[in-house]
Amino acid sequence: MAKRILSMIINSQAVGPVEVPDDLMMIDFLHEHLNLTGSRLGCGQGVCHACVAILDKADGTSEEVRTCITGVHFFDGKRVRTIEGHAKRDAQGEVSELNPIQQKFVDKFAFQCSYCTPGYVNAATVLVEKLQRQPVKRSELEGEIEDALGKHICRCTGYVRYYSAARDVVESLGLVKEG
């Protein structure tokens, strides 16, 4: 198999230039090359969305991308955020502050085993960033959350607390408008 060189920015840190097989999936790069194991392998086939990372696009928008079915070289020259990058950490690397979504998930007991939690955090982060650009009408809030989170599979929680926590975060951040 051939190798190619790539560089990217992950969690605001430069990665590469590094030579990587041309057919390596992003999840394997994260796990086996960078030891960032938080983007989890659930199905490895693009169905469960446990593996999603956030792609920060040139136009300032963000979206979730399934790392299990997207090649690592797709991200060459791009900016990516994984679950490991959300919380603020102190000089010793200990967590000093969670992002609002993570904090809400903790406060609301949103997860149980947490295998799927990184995917949900990323999906909810993308949603919040979208709504920060364009707030949502109250009557459309649940629909927005369903669109953002609906493809993510969770086997433990029955989804209830993930969804209500997401709604709480959106409301508490003032991203809901009249209507």
Partner: protein
């Protein structure tokens, strides 16, 4: 006088519960795929509501359950036959040829009666269908009388001498009941089928319904067995049904007996089917420069499901190797499916494919062009390149 009245009443009463007739009608309704246009997703079967986009506006499929107010509860078997085969409603007005009476006009009377018996046996659903209201002048239904004079009988059966029984049955299934020509035959500017190019392919809502001529099918890798399998299961070695063909499988062909699929296949490929064309995959270093660039886009966005070597994943993603869409002369469908993706599809039994994502916002025109070249040259036997203008033109002709 009384005899006349009785005779007039007879068509209505003669169809009281005949189980066999209803069974046959159920089968024929499947083969004719009435439900595809006369139901909406999430709606009761035959209760109408489906919007059909035409160049003339939106036409709605009607409620054909036996509800007296909203459906065909007041129709006699004669009324029904006139509607289906002639395009004439009970009140005498014309149906728009979105109702494919141009194909159904060859429907045998007894088959129409069977379908009628089946529909009348269903539970009446009190659901009003939206009124079709095209803009002027297309809202003038009487104008269709003129159109009908020209085009109503345009679909004709080919001569049957020397043809096998399956071929003849297949013709009826394809040309009449299945009305495949309604999509696979090009239309003129008045929306009429161009019968001199019958089954030679047409573009509908951005996607090509490809040619079904025997030589063209064989060039795309079809043999009779696989084509029959494709019709029965929606999936074969050549790929899976998607876009407008999927509902054909979902509502219609999956319910037919396998010898019907074999008959249809025999009709399309002929009693002496041409040899299917073999296309050997071409090595990377033999490809053009653009296609070689396309390889990396393939690995980045496709290989996760379709395999680095185009081998696909059983029950999950079709192989590129042997895929019929890659072999189409026109790159339209391949581009459309890359851009639009495919919705989740339930096939037979446990077969189910997850959605294919659309990449319209992930690949720019140049990248898509490279990818098309890679796919078509590696596996499709299509060496010719597209110009950048062709690609951006195709991209802008979005499907629905």
């Amino acid at each position: 006088m009384r005899a006349f009245v009785l005779a007039a009443l007879l068509p209505l009463t003669a169809f009281a519960a005949d189980e066999q007739l209803i069974e046959r009608g159920k089968y024929l309704a499947r083969a004719a795929d009435c439900v595809a246009c006369h139901s909406i997703e999430g709606g009761a079967e035959y209760a109408g509501g489906l919007p059909l986009e035409s160049p003339f506006g939106t036409i709605y499929g009607t409620n054909i359950t036996p509800d007296k107010e909203h459906g065909i509860g007041n129709y006699s078997a004669d009324d029904f036959y006139r509607a289906v085969a002639e395009g004439e409603r009970r009140d005498g007005s014309n149906l728009y040829p979105a109702m494919p009476y141009t194909s159904y006009h060859l429907l045998k009377r007894e088959d129409s009666d069977a379908i009628y018996a089946y529909l009348m046996s269903l539970e009446p659903i009190a659901k009003p269908s939206p009124q079709t209201d095209l803009s002027f002048p297309f809202n003038l239904r009487f104008g269709l009388s003129f159109w009908n004079m020209l085009y109503k009988d345009s679909v004709q059966l080919q001569p049957a001498e020397g043809k096998s029984e399956p071929w003849q049955r297949g013709q009826y299934l394809v040309e009449v009941l299945g009305h495949c020509g309604e999509c696979h035959t090009p239309r003129n500017v008045l929306g009429a089928l161009q019968q001199d190019e019958r089954l030679q392919g047409a573009v509908i809502l951005g996607y090509e319904a490809p040619s079904l001529l025997a030589d063209d099918l064989a060039a795309r890798g079809w043999n009779p067995e696989d084509l029959a399998t494709f019709l029965k299961y929606g999936i074969s070695a050549q790929g899976s049904m998607f876009n407008e063909m999927y509902p054909v499988f979902h509502h219609s062909t999956q319910y037919l007996p396998f010898d019907d699929h074999q008959a249809m296949s025999t009709y399309l490929l002929g009693d002496q089917p041409p040899e299917p064309r073999k296309v050997a995959s071409v090595a990377l270093d033999q490809l053009g420069a653009s296609a070689q660039q396309g390889r990396q886009h393939y690995l980045n966005t496709c290989a996760g499901c379709h395999g680095a070597a185009g081998e696909g994943i059983p029950h999950v993603a079709v192989a590129m190797e042997g895929n019929t869409t890659l072999r189409l002369n026109d790159a339209r469908n391949l581009l459309r499916v890359i851009d639009d993706g495919i919705k989740e599809q339930q096939f037979t039994g446990f077969e189910r494919m997850q959605p294919m994502p659309g990449f319209s916002d992930k690949l720019d025109d140049g990248q898509v062009r490279d990818l098309l070249h890679y796919l078509r040259q590696t596996w499709g036997g299509q060496a010719a390149e597209l110009s950048p203008q062709q690609v951006s033109q195709l991209r802008s002709e979005k499907g629905h």
